[in-house]
Symmetry: C2
Subunit: 421 residues, 2 copies
């Protein structure tokens, strides 16, 4: 049996017919390495934006079922064209949409999760010598309803296919050169990481490094699929390999620095200190699908017997959260609810920080030396995050990147750092 | 059980979002008449041309399987947008592609024939009160391969769905006002026919009247589905109803006049008069899928004991035919093969000409009076065709239209007469 490599190309990589021909060459290169190749592609460039605009022209609130029907066409155009491009080079290739393969998802439109992938048709076609080109981002329910996987969907399709096929590796081709120690737009000498663990990548992804969607990294981790993030436009660069932390040698305590300005801080002030008030608050938010990130409950103030509860959520969930809080404020008899949108979460990430004392204090001291006030702190085994004022975020990232010696001698050649999903 | 009306809207009827909103109104109007409605749509305006252009940029000779994958996306965009437009008006609607319904075809790409349509999902959704929007032009094989139906495919989808659902009627909405006595671009006072038989419509279609593809008319005839051709843009006009000849009252011997300039005449000269020479010639052509229309074999010339065999074929089959003829000429020991591209076939059509003598002679006399030379003649029960020089075609159509009193007092308001498939 040959080794199977799954490749994924995002929308910018297949934005026009010339780029599609280029992708065909990259695919064939892998086939000529002696591997079986399964390629996952997104919709061409701005196709999705164009379709969404037409939908909103017609219906300001289109049903998610019909949006899925509409948007899933984008990837079907890409797979047909890429297959033709591969065939034009004299190679056998065949395209499949998600319904044809059986990429089964939950019966939820616009953000379905994959529950199973049938491999029979894929294996039969690989055995027949075909390169297989699969539509990313889409799935199908048991009833034949067309679904889409939401943001980062094509990455998730690729990783899930790699897992189902027991592939050697899943290569995510994108318009960046790999995963960097931090955003090269902020720190020009940010260095590309040759290797990073799933856990670190997840923290980097959650922390705002937009290279891969967390869901695809989680799936890769769950099924131990080695992932490689690399540039479609520079094949000499091997990009970044993402694997299990137990398979890698750890040299540095800190792998990367990330800033995330998409959150907002909410403080519920002077909540009477009775058992269960935090449970009331956060279960009410959970019921409305509001994800909470950092949480701090201050010590009860002896005099008033009240607590302040501070937490952060994603900005786009703020309207839903405010609805919930209006009600909860009355039930908890809280004095006030304060909103702070002028925040940024800066994080240092590194599998090597486990059992290395002093990393946290170095971070706090660095911020203090730069006159940056820390509003909240949260930690995990491989991450320390500080909530600071938004205007301090760039300075904080630069200083931390320097202090933990993450830079390289060169200036990164950044062609693009926008998400490529 | 409510009556089911199938409606079909072509590419020009759904060319942009405003036109799609308009189509939604026409659909809802039928629903408000108390009928169940199934709508078949084509791809938006120039979508197909755009997709074909990209395909040819990538591969000058794209595989028909991948072309089907590519082109079938166009109708899926239309069904999703039209469904959203109907929902925006507060009506229940749901879209399905051919795979979801089970519009089963032969396993032939780019020109598959429908072999069966599953009605379970359609009936269930109609019972639930939904307007159903179906992707035209496409089908699926038993193995889940996506196929397309070729030219006129969406008309055929609509008629086949109407047959499968035992629908009351199939309304073909297009950019012309109905079926005319002749091409209104040639004869400005051509009149719209209120009613025409399948048989006449077939001859009109074959004879070059581009309103409906013959295949859809044949399917309607086979299953006795009443067809109505009407304008998307003028709902006050009821268009043309197409039904069985036994259901209509026949007033006039001639219903319409048509000219077809898409043929070419071939004469195989001086073929020795031995049994089977015609069989050799035409079976060789049939083997290469070259359809022959008119055939004339001249009387054997006593002196040389040879025949001339003349026939017409479609222009696009000429290269294939010439390949065949090069070989056949040698085998038959024919003197020469002559090609005449400067021809046009002019036909008069009418179910009323059966048993009415004098129609043919009136036609020949009219052409003679206009100094138009007849090169070949062929007849069927309801049609008489004459092959003439191409430059005489317009004059012939005008004269015949006048002689058989087909005109009306008004000038037709022709918005468009191009095929709308």
């Amino acid at each position: 049996m040959k080794k199977i490599i799954v490749q994924k190309f995002g929308g910018t990589s297949v934005a026009d017919t010339d780029k599609i021909k280029n992708v065909a060459k990259t695919v064939i290169r892998e086939k000529n390495n002696g591997n079986d190749v399964v390629v996952v592609v997104s919709a061409m460039g701005h196709t999705t934006d164009h379709l969404v605009k037409m939908a909103h022209d017609i219906n300001p609130n289109p049903s998610s079922r019909e949006m899925d029907m509409l948007l899933s066409t984008g990837e079907c155009v890409s797979i047909a064209l890429l297959t033709m491009a591969i065939q034009a080079q004299g190679y056998k290739a065949v395209s499949f949409n998600a319904s044809q393969i059986g990429i089964l998802t939950e019966n939820i439109h616009s953000k379905a999760r994959i529950v199973d992938i049938k491999t029979e048709k894929l294996k039969k076609n690989l055995e027949a010598g075909n390169i297989i080109v699969v539509a990313g981002f889409q799935g199908v329910t048991e009833d034949g309803e067309i679904t889409t996987l939401g943001r980062g969907g094509s990455d998730t399709s690729a990783v899930a296919l790699a897992a189902a096929l027991n592939a050697e590796r899943c290569d995510i081709y994108t318009d960046v050169e790999g995963v960097y120690t931090t955003d090269p737009r902020v720190v020009p000498n940010a260095s590309r990481l040759d290797i990073v663990s799933y856990e670190e990548m997840l923290e980097l992804a959650h922390a705002g490094a937009n290279v891969l969607h967390p869901r695809s990294v989680e799936t890769a981790k769950q099924y131990s699929v080695p992932l490689r993030v690399r540039s479609s436009f520079n094949l000499d660069n091997m990009g970044t390999l993402i694997i299990g932390v137990d398979e890698m040698e750890i040299n540095k305590p800190v792998t990367g620095v990330a800033a995330d300005s998409s959150q907002v801080r909410i403080v519920v002030c002077e909540v009477p200190d009775t058992p269960g008030e935090a449970a009331t608050l956060f279960s009410s938010l959970a019921k409305e699908n509001v994800s909470v990130d950092m949480i701090i409950q201050s010590y009860a103030r002896k005099a008033s017997q009240t607590n302040d509860i501070a937490f952060t959520i994603n900005k786009e969930d703020l309207p839903k959260a405010l609805d919930v809080l209006e009600d909860v404020k009355v039930r908890l008899n809280a004095a006030d609810v304060k909103i702070d949108e002028n925040i940024s979460k800066v994080s240092i990430i590194g599998a090597g920080m486990i059992d290395r004392p002093g990393i946290a204090s170095t971070m706090f001291q660095t911020l203090a030396d730069s006159n940056i006030n820390i509003k909240m702190i949260s930690t995990s085994e491989i991450k320390i995050s500080c909530l600071i004022n938004k205007e301090d975020a760039s300075k904080a990232v630069k200083k931390l990147h320097e202090v933990f010696s993450l830079g390289c001698d060169e200036i990164a050649d950044v062609k693009g750092t926008l998400p490529d999903v």
